[in-house]
């Protein structure tokens, strides 16, 4: 035996899965959404996606280059720094870039996307310590930043190239108009009130004006299946969020009926339109399941998701806007509370507690 053996604490075998592999899996899961975005919204969507990813990766590299010690030395041996950067590159900035592109309307100008990418990586992620240390999801924070900075363009959703299979005119006009009022979603957010649309159209994203990656629920479901199959996310997380959100949104819509003078009505016909409209489906699969910014332990995660779902439904009703990204940010900031107060009890804990009480 020569002296090349490694001495460490156990375990001496480890799983082959690495952070990089997980991030690549997420990128793969996002491919259907990205492709459908280009199919529906054309070359502008492709530009947004490319600019977003490049901007995120480049900001990470520049930050890595500048922020580490010995900046002047590094300029001299840039090749070595590049090598080091590549070695630690874990694709998380690619994930951020793709997700950011997915939640933007295709009409957003390229310079805004570039700024968004820099904001996401440099300010939200790297300033707080890089991968795993960010307080909020970088892509969501960047979206909100862009929403506030470029509100005009961020709220003008363009029509997709592919029109609706079942145009809204075919639906019975009377009930449709009342539904749009009930949903209380302003037309500038959705150029077409989503409740006016057929569920199949909403599912496929045909004829739905919206963000690049959020309209095609079919693509999102493909990504969801891949992530679950690769054991990246837990299957129940998006399901729990969407089901709770759906029921609560239906419950809130009942008040819309009440305000409309037709009395409170728990209309389950609105269930699918609610969860298929806007960005909730995308957020449930790709945003609320983000490792860094969600609580740890199944119980804390479940409560976290239910709280997020209820808040989304309520705020959506009262604001008439797509509020999912704000909810994601808000919930991200609450994560430490969930972690602290909903920390699970170890195996055998209850027994001990009971015995203590018995003694007293």
């Amino acid at each position: 035996m020569d002296n090349t053996v490694v001495i460490s604490t156990p375990p001496h075998v480890k799983s082959k899965r690495t952070t990089r592999r997980i991030m690549i899996d997420v990128v793969i899961a996002l491919i259907p959404c990205a492709v459908m975005g280009i199919v529906y919204f054309g070359w502008r969507a492709a530009v947004t996606e490319i600019v977003s990813v490049l901007s995120c990766v480049a900001s990470e590299f520049v930050y890595f280059f500048i922020a580490n010690k010995g900046f002047s030395n590094k300029c001299a041996n840039a090749a070595a720094v590049c090598k080091r950067w590549l070695k630690q590159f874990d694709f998380s900035s690619v994930v951020t870039g793709v997700i950011l592109a997915m939640v933007l309307p295709s009409e957003v100008p390229w310079y805004a996307v570039l700024l968004g990418g820099i904001f996401a990586i440099a300010l939200v992620k790297m300033l707080f310590g890089g991968t795993g240390k960010n307080l909020v999801a970088p892509s969501t924070a960047a979206r909100v930043f862009m929403f506030l900075s470029f509100s005009a363009v961020m709220t003008s959703y363009s029509e997709p190239i592919l029109g609706a299979i079942f145009p809204a005119e075919d639906l019975i006009q009377s009930s449709a108009t009342s539904l749009s009022g009930l949903l209380n979603i302003k037309s500038e957010i959705y150029s077409q009130p989503t409740a006016l649309m057929n569920v199949l159209d909403l599912f496929l994203g045909t004829g739905v004006a919206g963000c690049i990656g959020e309209t095609s629920k079919a693509a999102i479901i493909l990504g969801y299946i891949y992530l679950v199959a690769r054991n990246v996310i837990k299957w129940w997380q998006p399901v729990l969020y969407l089901v709770v959100f759906g029921f609560f949104a239906v419950f809130m819509s009942g008040f819309g009926y009440l305000a409309g003078g037709s009395g409170y009505k728990f209309d389950m016909a609105l269930f699918l339109p609610h969860i298929f409209s806007g960005g909730v489906a995308f957020a449930s699969v790709f945003m609320f399941t983000d490792y860094v910014t969600s609580p740890k332990g199944a119980a804390a995660q479940a409560v976290f998701l239910v709280t997020a779902a209820v808040l989304t439904a309520v705020l959506r009703y009262f604001t008439g806007m797509e509020v999912v990204s704000f909810i994601v940010l808000l919930m991200n900031l609450l994560v430490p509370l969930f972690d602290k107060y909903l920390m699970r009890k170890p195996f055998g804990y209850k027994k001990q507690k009971k015995q203590k009480e018995a003694k007293q």
Partner: protein, 435 residues
């Protein structure tokens, strides 16, 4: 008895078990080495006190160090020969141990206890104590203490779940020495005064299950998962009882014994043979011919490696014990103990030696934790130096150090190291007695 299915247990991991390397190798006996170095630290608790002096002749099975305190066990000469010296050396885990060096003479003169036929409970307990039997599953807790529980027990659980990857020593023992193991289990049951004997065997060993079904003890088929052989896990899946934190299995009326311990008890009772020999699995892709060997306690690892044909490839890691909980060795100059269950020579392909990357908070460590702890919190606070928070938010005191968290960690964080550091801090704190 017909085998039953075990209860479901949460968490756990499914590592590549690589048992096929050595599973088919029938046990062989290692030729007597020239020099044996027997550590006085063969069990938990204080090391034993040497009772021989340099130059003294000893017989096989003669006591050479006497137990020191209640949680300690006697140590015996593994072969006849002459004691050459008694000196302190660095043991496999890095701590100082006292070794008794014996130059073997190959006479094979034995000094056993008289065999017992139809012994009483007291006689069995006495014999277990006298033969220095310790738990051979890995922890090395003296069996004599375990068979004298303070609370009444009603179930004896035999641990046949060899859930560690690579290791096949218990598997071979269960196959080759089924009757002796069953008899040993009955002796222990008699000492405890219980009738209910359960043996937990993993589902991937159907031949073992079939062998034990022929006897009157209850086999339970365990799901193939690591760590099903953990004491608390095994008790839960076989009986549905939960052992509280900081409690002993006896508090829920159960005692767990490893199959190898049962075999040792059988030999101690029927032959009067003290514990100085056991099966060791020599495996890994870097060893030429993986084997299951009967090895005397105190054999130098170099001798074992040479007997197995030496290195095939350059090993990346040399592990004493199982790959999940064993000790990584820096050289072949160490000596085996009563608790050594395996010697593994792992190639770079098998052994993990990656650099850690930042924690993602993915929570996979918590998902697989068989004790429902929060290893990521322990690691986080321990690396920041806040040991009290590490213990509080990670529930570290309840950790069984199975290593499942670190196995699954995609960032390859050194979680077990952080946990051990925190536990050492807690031990120190308890010693000081402050709050």
């Amino acid at each position: 008895m017909k085998a039953k299915k075990a209860k479901f247990y949460f968490g756990g991991i499914h590592p590549h078990d690589r048992k096929a390397l050595s599973a088919c190798a029938a046990t062989e006996t290692l030729p007597l080495p020239e020099i044996l170095a027997i550590s006085t630290q063969q069990s938990l608790g204080k090391p034993a006190e040497p009772v021989v002096a340099a130059g003294q002749c000893v017989k096989e099975g003669e006591i050479i160090a006497r137990a020191n305190g209640p949680v300690s066990s006697d140590v015996f000469a593994s072969a006849s020969g002459t004691v050459t010296e008694i000196k302190e050396e660095t043991g496999a885990n890095g701590s100082k141990e006292t070794f008794i060096f014996i130059k073997t003479d190959g006479n094979g003169e034995k000094a056993f206890f008289p065999p017992l036929s139809s012994p009483s409970a007291e006689e069995i307990k006495e014999r277990i104590k006298n033969c220095g039997i310790v738990g051979l599953g890995g922890a090395g807790f003296p069996t004599a203490v375990k068979v004298a529980p303070r609370t009444p027990v009603d179930t004896l659980i035999i641990n046949g779940a060899e859930c560690e990857p690579y290791l096949t020593c218990d598997y071979r023992l269960m196959l080759e020495k089924t009757d002796e193991t069953v008899r040993g289990a009955r002796y222990i049951a008699k000492a405890l005064g219980v009738d209910n004997i359960i043996i937990g065997i993993e589902a991937n060993n159907p031949d073992c299950i079939a062998a034990f079904e022929k006897n009157d003890i209850q086999p339970v088929i365990l799901k193939r998962k690591y760590p099903m052989g953990g004491e608390k896990q095994l008790i839960y899946v076989t009986t549905g009882r939960k052992v509280g934190i900081g409690k002993l299995p006896a508090d829920v009326g159960a005692v767990v014994q490893n199959v190898a311990t049962c075999f040792a008890v059988c030999e101690a009772v029927e032959l009067g043979k003290p514990l100085y020999e056991r099966i060791i699995t020599v495996s890994g892709k870097a060893i030429k011919s993986p084997k299951n060997l009967w090895v005397k306690v105190g054999t130098q690892i170099k001798d074992i490696i040479n007997f197995c044909g030496g290195e095939n490839f350059t090993p990346k890691k040399v592990v004493q014990g199982g790959p999940m909980t064993g000790v990584a060795l820096g050289s072949y100059d160490h000596y085996t103990h009563k608790t050594t269950s395996g010697i593994l020579l792992m190639t770079a392909d098998e052994a993990a030696a990656e650099e850690p990357t930042p924690c993602l908070n993915c929570g996979k460590c918590a998902d697989v934790c068989p004790m429902r702890l929060m290893p990521m919190n322990t690691a986080f606070y321990a690396s920041a130096g806040d040991m009290d928070a590490a213990a509080k938010y990670g529930n570290t005191a309840a950790c069984i150090e199975c290593g499942a968290c670190e196995y699954i960690c995609p960032a390859k964080r050194p979680l077990i190291q952080a946990i051990r550091k925190t536990k050492a801090y807690l031990r120190d704190k308890n010693k000081r007695g402050d709050k």
